[in-house]
Symmetry: C2
Subunit: 338 residues, 2 copies
DNA sequence: CACAGGATTGCAAACGGTTGCAGACTCGCT
DNA sequence: AGCGAGTCTGCAACCGTTTGCAATCCTGTG
């Protein structure tokens, strides 16, 4: 069907080797022959078969990207970043969605591994040992997860939490509730740590409301407990959860931010659109995808892995103050009205 | 690095051909040899190199999926459907995001075409001729777009619009505004047609507010014109636009649905979460992805293309009545209070 | 005991490229 | 004219599979 290198060779009246060279190492072949070859290739609409090249060079020119759930708006952002950067480097991207299933994840990764030069694993759900094993014989870059000895790009959870707490403290909040994500979530654990540290530094009280699904429904489920905690502000595991909180609070007639302030994390598109618009810590999701690609590509190219292994890119979040945070409800501690 | 078929052969003490046969055409090789081969393959963690197989069979076992913009929540849904179905059939998916750029789209498609057995083009922005040209020498399935002679899965826009209008008419609305999508959008054009037909049948007035970007911002931009049109209800090109409308209307102090009813199309996750929750026409997006895969795979397998070419799957939408629609503001035409 | 015929298995070619090596030409010089 | 040094180009091998064909072994039968 499609033209092969030999078709081009025949048309140009040269050997296949010459065509190969004319196309991929110009300069080593005579200018006039090269022109002839290029004309022939053009005429036949020839494009080299990447698979065949891959057989020899051992490079497929493809990378794999694995995400837990595309329905969570966090991931499409990362995917977009990966996409864009991969295109710049002329590598194609295999995408796999694991549906939040750790077992399926490992299976998909193994299947993909043979077809790509490297893998980007975004917020992987598999446990640390499995990830380490996979990274042992494949080029892997982790996003939003840290595993000893595996290159990764992560977000500065501690710093983000610090900004959120500083903001709330400035508004007079002294008792803040934390609605955590899934028990096994790496980022939930780290956000929690950052939160406690920041709360301690500011001398305010942090109350842990528990673990919830990282979804709108999870937020709705957490709302009543957050209210019952007596806190004047809530920090949610992510924006989806925060928006769920907002919904349930509204249903209960609790006004945000007058009665309770709410802070999310991620800054998904939806957050600007919620009512009230959500104050949140913006994570450079797309950028994370871009950096992951750079890291992975460097890793693939570099014959000496020591320069890369263990490399970590840490991206900083930025607090986006919108309408879901305000002065603490308890006016006795309101700094603006002593 | 990875084990090859010869490594397995050596370990099992047979020839490479036998390994190949043992693995892909069991039954033709002796049971005990087969067991030995399988054991060896297992031990070495052998997995055939898909690229090499592809060279011979002419099948890569991969399909490509092209979408305009992953940031639009509509697309991740269909990607998820494609993903899931592809996994069932053991084919991997290349994903490309064109960033709404028709030119980039064609380039990406051409590049991908060499590496896959077929392509799924979701809401392609390229013009009809280009698509027809591409479909001429590649297996292509369109989603949410129709081009003469190219298999496609689309949504029943007319039917969906009919449901929306019937709902609004029942609520007493007699003058309905239509906020269209981009001028060149295929689905916008078809929704518009369905809307006019339905409005005509019900004897109500439809006023076209114009074309807007298919985004939250587009909705905000359209809101004031929709209000000025004097209509008591608005149908928006999609949910994102509808949610933008909601935001601007709220900012202007116009109450939905008391002052104005709003209907969206798509039913993205965000729509349940908006305030008020959006009445919308649910489109089975994920299902569309699944069907597209089935269609494409059938197309790839079928030696006689005539049975597939021109095949069309039409998916029906379902009106989800939520809180953004209510009785028409103009009480003189309120059927419940004569 | 010779032989037909089925069941297994190995050999070698092919898929579409890349690349080391050596041969063929062209020049420029002596 | 002879020769050395480049410069180009073709030959052939190779990458990891699949598959047509032929060789081998077995079994049953006349």
């Amino acid at each position: 069907m499609a033209a092969t290198i030999r078709d081009v060779a025949r048309l140009a009246g040269v050997s296949a080797s010459t065509v190969s060279r004319a196309l991929s190492m110009p300069g080593v072949v005579n200018a006039t022959t090269r022109a002839r070859v290029q004309a022939a290739a053009e005429q036949l609409g020839y494009a080299p078969n990447k698979a065949a090249r891959g057989l020899i060079t051992g490079r497929t020119g493809n990378i794999g990207l694995v995400v837990p759930d595309l329905a969570n708006p966090f991931f499409p952002s990362v995917v977009k970043g990966v996409q864009a950067r991969a295109r710049m480097h002329d590598v194609a991207v295999f995408l796999a969605d694991t549906d939040e299933d750790a077992a399926a994840e490992v299976g998909l990764v193994l299947a993909l591994a043979k077809q790509v030069d490297g893998l980007i694993l975004c917020s992987p759900r598999a446990d640390e040992d499995e990830l380490a094993a996979i990274a042992a014989d494949t080029n892997v870059v982790l996003v939003n997860r840290l595993v000893e000895g595996v290159p990764a790009v992560t977000f500065d959870n501690e710093g983000g939490m610090r900004q959120a707490i500083a903001h709330l403290v400035a508004l007079g909040h002294r008792k803040i509730a934390w609605v955590g994500g899934p028990k096994t979530s790496w980022s939930s654990a780290h956000r929690s740590i950052g939160l406690y540290a920041a709360a301690h530094d500011h001398g305010v009280k942090l109350v842990d409301v528990g673990h919830f699904a990282p979804t709108y429904e999870g937020g709705m489920a957490a709302a009543d407990q957050a209210v019952a905690s007596g806190a004047t502000a809530v920090v949610a595991y992510n924006d989806l959860v925060a928006i769920g909180l907002l919904a349930r609070l509204h249903a209960r007639g609790i006004t945000v931010p007058d009665d309770l302030s709410v802070v999310g994390i991620d800054d998904i598109a939806m957050s600007r659109m919620s009512r009230p618009a959500l104050t949140t810590v913006r994570l450079p999701k797309q950028r994370a995808g871009e950096i992951a690609v750079e890291l992975l590509l460097a890793m693939i190219d570099d014959p000496d892995p020591d320069t890369i292994i263990g490399t970590r890119g840490t991206l900083h979040g930025e607090l986006m103050v919108r309408d879901s945070t305000g002065l603490a409800a308890d006016r006795t501690s309101d700094p603006a009205r002593p």
